[in-house]
Symmetry: C2
Subunit: 157 residues, 2 copies
DNA sequence: TTGAACTGTTTACCATAATAACAAACTTGC
DNA sequence: GCAAGTTTGTTATTATGGTAAACAGTTCAA
């Protein structure tokens, strides 16, 4: 144990490092964990997080346009095309013509889409329940509230 | 205002949606905001977040190997090669031979690397200070603590 | 001493996203 | 009414960040 290079297989302890005290770094690490578990929970052929979030909004706010959806998700509308394509291919929504404006196509969930969403949101809730089971209800609520507060403060881009 | 499709340019209000109550979704949105501001704070030719985090650990834990560093950052060691290459090209660290094991190359920060890191960490602290200025000191500490607690619980992958 | 394991590395690949350009459709100012 | 500007959905291109598989050289353990 003298003068040897540390060659442990376990992750070395970084406690007290600058990194560990940065919110940004911890946010990223936490996000990676949650995202990986989300995917695992929805299975190999499950919806990717971004596709899920689009479906969620289409189910809860039917007849929104792609542009409006992109603004809600805060992504470019060009990026939404592939997401909507996938949801349409899965039969979860339809692009429907809007009388009065031939540019836009309102996004309408199908019955299958609403049913699939009900199943999926249940799995997602179970995933968060399991993943955060080591934290108390009030700790989870605090975390959620703090994240929302931060987004409210900085989100008016 | 009757029967018309919502065509506002501003981001529609998603308050009360399922998405807004998911920790994972809020985590991601917060992460995207912080990461974008991080990059903006370090400028066009500044270090990317992952390169910064590698430099941080090399400065604070000199003579670690690439494998150990990859475990600390929880990324694949193949992915670390390009990061270490960049830091070496910038003259911030050196790969040095380790007597007794010709496989490993200990990562040692240069004097320039330590000075650069001091500058950069100051900018990073200023960035977080500015970004979270809408939250009280104790709110920020709570957020940090909750994120660390979550990582501690789930991090033993 | 032979087989297993570890290190750094390259190559290939995948996922997520932004940017730029475009045609079609709509709106506005005159 | 009409020209100029704007919005919508779309494609193509590019950047980024990461994993997986394979490999040669080296070390370790039975």
């Amino acid at each position: 144990m003298a003068g040897r290079i540390d060659r442990n297989r376990a992750a070395p302890d970084m406690r007290g490092s600058d990194l560990e005290e940065l919110i940004g770094y911890n946010l990223k690490r936490a996000y990676v964990i949650v995202q990986a578990d989300f995917r695992a929970s929805l299975g190999k052929d499950g919806l990717a997080p971004r596709v899920f979030s689009a479906l969620s909004l289409v189910v809860q706010f039917p007849h929104t346009t792609q542009s409006a959806l992109a603004r809600m998700l805060d992504i470019e509308r060009s990026g939404l095309v592939a997401i909507v394509d996938e949801l349409e291919e899965r039969g979860y929504l339809a692009r429907t013509a809007v009388p009065g404006d031939r540019r836009v196509q309102a996004l309408v969930p199908t019955t299958a889409g609403r049913h699939a969403y009900a199943d999926i949101i249940a799995k997602v809730h179970a995933h968060e329940e399991r993943l955060f089971s080591g934290m108390t209800r009030s700790e989870r609520q605090s975390l959620l509230d703090l994240l929302k507060k931060f987004r409210d403060l900085e989100g008016q881009s």
